[in-house]
Symmetry: C2
């Protein structure tokens, strides 16, 4: 029997990080360890002893020491739990939420760890869902549109306030002394790899999807940055790097210090950083064009590979080498899916269903799913626009809001639940249609994330609505598995890993047995309803009727947020 070869994947999430030990031969997951961040999401006040420093609305920070504690606690636990010999662990890969970024000194020390800056919120890590940089994003978009920047279309025509330069520019705008002090501005993903290896790298995935970098054109021109703010002109050369390393590369070997934290051996191969959604694609078995990966949870990310660069209506971004080297990686998204169901369960379901759930020891959505599953397509009599958190793809409009139509005095909660599921499925179909219209085919879909295992009705409805077969990734922790796969690639075949992520995916990634196939009669009814959905989608989403933005502005005025005109 040949010697075991393992890889470790670490998925840095929003509230916690998860480390998994994987068999390089077949992707078998031998163990998992979770570290819940001590300081979690910092969105009201800084951690003790500086808890008197309050944050403004829309802020969301993290503590970089939570990432280091992940190495120090989760990885040793994982090794202890599995009994794996560190000598058998050939590689380590991480994935991260993104864009999560921080300012550091030249040696990588986060500014928030400096005595003089720890009470300065801008010195901390800005988490992906830090939404306070909207004015900067607006400026980034306005100046780009004005200058006709050629990269703008690669991002659906609009840069998000969540992305790198909006956050960097907010530091400059609001805390120029922090900006000055920052030798480096860096994605947390790259920062943790730096901490593991001792050398700073930048990866093609976060650079491409969140920092407007492309393999062919690099970053936007200095003139563009200067037009945003003269002090911002040299942000890339002063605080970032134009050396961007393709995903699938080896960032370096584990440093002695990091070996001490983790219990792994010094020199263990470490992969360049990657992003949770993107690393899930090969972990869901997809390394070629034609199959979409839908990462289905609170929101949905739609990931797709293409041979060519195409303009897709309202996508989040397209990056060459962004997901799999040698291919264009497309990302689109629905800003709320599971979040809508959670909202519904909490805010609009009457007691009888909660009582039934309690009696049976299941969640209220499970009870509703059972009742909703008894309805035939169209039988609920309702139609919704699934914009409770705006619309990312294809409309790229955060001001849009939800709509529900068709209620009668006989409408019950399972009817509404089914309509909400259907609406999110229609939203996915709009994205699939946008890709196909742009010449990027979507023949089938592989789902991963939390929703597919929780909600079989939802999966069948998605198949029926899109007219496409849905498979489900075998792993329930695809990001961590993907991280481990990239760790095995960083080690390379010579050490018992793989020379490419395609090879790794072929051996280490698997699909579950379940297939959700569209039922012809259901698809026909949903075709009818989809026509209604698309008409309302275009009416309310493309400016034909602006009731949603009007309601938002009237509401803001009423709440006292802005003065009456």
């Amino acid at each position: 029997m040949s010697r075991q070869r393992y890889a470790v994947g670490i998925d840095f999430g929003t509230e916690s990080a998860r480390a998994v030990l994987v068999d390089c031969a077949d992707g078998r997951e031998l163990g998992t360890a979770v570290y819940r961040y001590r300081n979690g999401v910092i969105d009201e006040r800084l951690p003790e002893p500086d808890a008197d420093v309050l944050l403004e609305p829309d802020w969301a920070l993290q503590d970089p020491e939570d990432y280091l504690r992940t190495f120090q606690e989760a990885v040793p636990s994982l090794l202890a739990e599995t009994g794996a010999d560190p000598a058998d662990v050939i590689g380590l890969g991480i994935d991260f939420t993104s864009c999560t970024m921080l300012p550091t000194l030249a040696d990588g020390t986060p500014l928030c760890l400096l005595d003089g800056l720890r009470r300065e919120p801008h010195a901390w890590v800005k988490l992906w869902k830090h939404h306070a940089a909207q004015p900067e994003a607006d400026r980034i978009n306005a100046v780009a549109a004005e200058r006709g920047e050629s990269w703008l279309w690669r991002y659906g025509g609009r840069i998000s306030s969540e992305w790198f330069f909006a956050k960097a520019l907010q530091i400059l705008d609001e805390a120029p002394e922090v900006y000055d002090r920052a030798d480096r501005l860096i994605e947390a993903a790259d920062w943790v790899v730096w901490q593991l290896t001792g050398s700073e790298t930048r990866n093609t995935c976060t650079a491409g999807y969140k920092a407007m970098w492309s393999k062919r054109d690099g970053f936007p021109a200095n003139e563009y940055f200067a037009a945003l703010d003269p002090r911002f002109e040299h942000v890339v050369d002063e605080k970032m790097s134009r050396h961007v390393v393709p995903i699938g590369s080896r960032a370096g070997g584990l440093s002695g210090r990091a070996a001490g934290w983790t219990g792994l051996l010094p020199g263990t191969a470490v992969a360049v950083a990657n992003v949770d959604a993107h690393v899930s694609v090969p972990a869901a078995t997809v390394t070629e064009p034609g199959t979409m990966v839908a990462i289905m949870g609170t929101s949905i990310c739609h990931m797709l590979l293409g041979d060519e660069l195409a303009t897709v209506d309202g996508m989040c971004g397209v990056v060459e080498d962004g997901i799999v080297p040698g291919l264009f990686g497309y990302e689109a998204g629905q800003s709320a899916v599971g979040d809508i169901f959670a909202w519904f369960a909490e805010s609009a379901v009457p007691p009888e269903y909660h009582e039934a759930a309690r009696r049976r020891g299941v969640g209220v959505l499970a009870v509703l799913e059972e009742e909703a599953a008894r309805l035939r397509p169209g039988e609920c009599g309702l139609l919704a626009l699934d914009w409770w958190n705006g619309n990312r793809s294809v409309l790229v409009d955060a001001d849009l809001r939800g709509l529900l139509v068709g209620m009668t005095l006989a409408t019950r909660a399972p009817d509404v639940y089914r309509a909400l599921i259907e609406a999110t499925a229609f939203g996915t179909r709009v994205i699939v249609d946008a890709f196909e219209s742009a010449g990027v085919p979507v023949a089938g879909i592989v789902a991963c994330g939390g929703l597919p295992e929780r909600n079989k009705l939802l999966m069948q409805i998605y198949a029926d609505v899109t007219g496409r077969e849905f498979a489900v990734a075998a792993s329930t922790q695809t990001p961590a598995l993907g991280g481990a796969m990239f760790g095995a690639v960083a080690a390379g075949a010579a050490l018992g890993g793989y020379d490419s992520i395609v090879d790794a995916s072929r051996r280490m990634a698997h699909l579950g047995h379940e297939r959700y196939r569209p039922v012809g009669a259901h698809h026909a009814v949903y075709d009818e309803l989809y026509r209604e959905y698309v008409r309302l989608h275009d009416l309310f989403g493309r400016g034909g009727d602006d009731v949603m933005t009007k309601l938002k502005s009237i509401q803001r005025r009423a709440a006292g947020a802005v003065r009456s005109p």
Copy 2:
């Protein structure tokens, strides 16, 4: 001290009847007695011993003996409770739901009391909400439109399936032997007066609002009825009467038999029959043009008087002498108001509010009202179309359905509740605007019914939305009070009553002290929201976007009600 003079009013409702004893001098209510119909609403099966006879969907029948039991039980209880001397009761008036109608023999015996017919559903009383005569209503409308019948516009261009000839025609269509056997087809309102007096009368209110009769043109021509069905040509002359008596008239004196039932004296004046909504107008102090009466409960009836005959968009009907003799009585309506709130409370409010209600011993809507009252106009961020039960005025379309727009992940039940209240207020404003556009002024509004006393937030929102002051009738049982007032008018001034309903209203009807006055700043915000409401109202209600009817037809097909095309 002069001798007391009393009148009795009896309000025949859907589930029960209510008798009230009123002081003729000032309208003071001395006592109330309620009789809950033994057989209630008969909508699934006939009463015992014929409970094996099942009814089709949309049927709603009543038992005429429940009306007689009302006389036999409620009136004696009322006299006993109040200790009133029957000699002091000078008059009796009734009001009834309408159109509630039945087939009888020439002597008034209901066909359902005949041995050979008691198991025949068509022999029973058809309650106002019997909705199974839609095919007949469709025929009535189609033939009227085809022939250009001049009376059609007086009913908003459409006759309801609830009305007299639709129900009569359904008997002919489905049970011609019952139709043949019926010597008389009569409103239950007129039938109970017949039972009291021994002589058959027909009143201008039900004839005008429910049977297409007008003072100037009488009933539709025989040729029209023949065009519906040759056997229907002489329905008026064979089974009804062209002698229609103005409301406010004396139908006759109480018969000996009815005196025995009630404990009142034989010969006591009995008023001609009337309808619950219509009799409420003078009971809410309104006997002149300019003030609308809104009867606010599960639905809203909007009653208004005019000097002239005007064409008002989508009204339910306009009848000369229909409410107050000498004036044109206009009726419009919203098909669901309190019903929508009840639906919401039952179907879409999460447990926390129900628990708070239980803790505090109040209804869940009271808890929601308190929270919704803390929101400023527009602050909920939502807008609804209040069509959960279709739209009566001004769109006259039962197929329309509810719509709610503006939801975010932060939307909570009190936001939705407030939006639903606002939507019904916008619905009332559309009706007010329709009257004013037609030259029928609405300077102020008097509310009565169950909602005004239960929901002060709602009343203020209605004032803010319509920009009109709302007063509230002092009586909480305006229909029964109105019945008693008409009883006093039937007796006449010589006997201690009044010679006209105007005189009776001046003395016997009162307003409560509370006034709801529009707040300028609120009205301004609601003006903005109303523009949005009207635009969506016209878009979805006037054929611009037919998603609601499409959803209904897809739903019917899915439920197996009709076959796929």
